[in-house]
């Protein structure tokens, strides 16, 4: 019988096969799926996030851990659904209008899913109303916007403005990220959050969902 500790360690070292195997073994025992998620998988990803922030590990290691987490969740998710365990939340993601660069946005998507969020990924070149409509359709609390170009990052302001115009700011929070962005820029356009990297995005979104 695998232990929660073994599962956590498998995720942290990015071993997808071991994580899947340990999860399968655990669900056959007397620990409930929600406990497996909350006591092994999410803490393991939190450790990964912390080690990344401390520069003890780097992006490829984080991605391997996220892959192992995904393998474990493939076993666990049907059982969580069966038990009616709520997801961490829904987040709409996209690269803003005029910009086709989506690597950063894709990374955030991977990390959010690893942290138990449902992600509605709108892809790239997304206009303001498309972000908002998708968020309303999916009952999402947060819209995450990405841009790589200084010429397209101004589109983020258009999304924030449009949320205000539609009277939705109490319902929809915004977070922005991308190579040319800064905390100051996020504040200037009225975004609710800024994340310099994908692991920070998960933390900021967790804070925004709690608000």
């Amino acid at each position: 019988m695998s232990s929660l500790q073994e599962l956590s360690e498998a995720v942290q070292r990015g071993d997808a096969a071991a994580a899947s195997g340990a999860t399968t073994a655990l669900v056959g025992g007397d620990i409930g799926p929600a406990d497996i998620l909350n006591r092994a998988l999410l803490p393991a990803m939190a450790v990964i996030g912390e080690r990344f922030r401390e520069r003890e590990i780097f992006l490829p290691d984080v991605l391997l851990a996220a892959r192992a987490m995904k393998a474990a969740m493939a076993v666990l998710e049907p059982l969580l659904l069966r038990d009616g365990v709520a997801k961490s939340g829904v987040v709409v993601l996209g690269t803003v209008r005029g910009d086709l660069h989506d690597i950063g946005k894709n990374l955030v998507s991977v990390m959010l899913q690893g942290a138990g969020y449902d992600v509605v990924d709108l892809g790239s070149d997304v206009d303001a109303d498309a972000f908002i409509d998708a968020a309303l359709d999916a009952d999402a609390a947060v819209i995450g916007m990405s841009a790589l170009l200084t010429t397209t990052m101004t589109e983020m302001a258009a999304v924030v403005r449009r949320i205000e115009e539609r009277g939705l700011h109490d319902r929809l929070r915004t977070i922005v990220g991308g190579a040319p962005l800064s905390e100051a820029f996020a504040r200037e356009i009225g975004a609710d959050g800024f994340a310099p990297d994908a692991t920070a995005a998960v933390e900021r979104i967790r804070e925004l969902v709690r608000r």
């Binding site: 992006l59 991605l63 990374l107 998507s109 991977v110 800064s182």
Partner: protein, 229 residues
């Protein structure tokens, strides 16, 4: 003079260290076996799928002034305004690694393995840069021994991305299959474009003092200047 070059993948294949650095891994950090396996998988994909090609064409200072002006949306002053008058020769260039790799990255993110997708994306970005570097080197070879050539691109250092339209109108890179979208971004996405500036090393020196420098997070102008010392 118009040169079109089809590269062998091996000519522009980045090193593993360059790829890891692109993903934020500091130089000298030894990858784990698992990260090594990701690198290997991404490398075999890019070797199979990349179609690197590029072109350049000489342009006079007078004609380039029109390209640089573009739609008139540049910053009031840019480094190129200082650099171009000192240049020995100029050439417009476009390079790409092809659409196949871009499609594979998207498919990996959508349905497959995002970890491999990120590593492949890093390989692709580095390879596109290597195409630009190689084109610069070939242009230098046509000017004279010891010519220092650096590429400068719309979207950076005050040259507004809308300048792509004038650049593409002047160069027309149809032979290598690169087109421009309404947003002035290129298809395939992993493409590079701009002007190759030739001269001695001092031609490329400038003090990064403009307003846009304050917002720049890349700050790669300094190592670029150092690279042609």
């Amino acid at each position: 003079m118009r040169r079109v070059i089809q590269f062998a993948v091996g000519e522009v294949l980045p090193t593993e260290e360059e790829v890891l650095m692109r993903t934020g891994v500091p130089a000298g950090v030894e990858p784990s076996a698992a990260v090594g396996a990701l690198l290997h998988e991404a490398c075999s994909r890019i070797r199979r799928l990349a179609r690197p090609r590029g072109m350049f064409q000489r342009v006079s200072v007078k004609d380039f002034a029109l390209v640089l002006r573009g739609a008139g949306r540049n910053a009031a002053e840019t480094p190129l305004d200082e650099i171009v008058p000192r240049a020995e020769a100029l050439a417009l260039f476009v390079g790409t690694i092809g659409q196949e790799v871009v499609d594979d990255i998207a498919a990996l993110f959508r349905d497959g393995d995002p970890a491999v997708a990120v590593m492949l994306d890093a390989y692709a970005s580095e390879m596109a840069n290597a195409v630009a570097t190689d084109l610069a080197s070939r242009f230098a070879g046509e000017i004279r021994d010891g010519a220092c050539v650096l590429p400068y691109s719309p979207g950076y250092c005050g040259w507004h991305v809308s300048g792509q339209r004038a650049l593409f109108a002047a160069l027309d890179p149809h032979e290598i299959g690169v087109t421009l979208k309404e947003s002035c971004l290129m298809t395939p996405l992993k493409s590079v474009s701009g002007v190759l500036v030739s001269g001695d090393a001092t031609v490329h020196r400038f003090r990064p003092r403009w307003t846009f420098c304050e917002e720049c997070v890349g700050r790669d102008c300094v190592p670029r200047m150092r690279s042609v010392r």
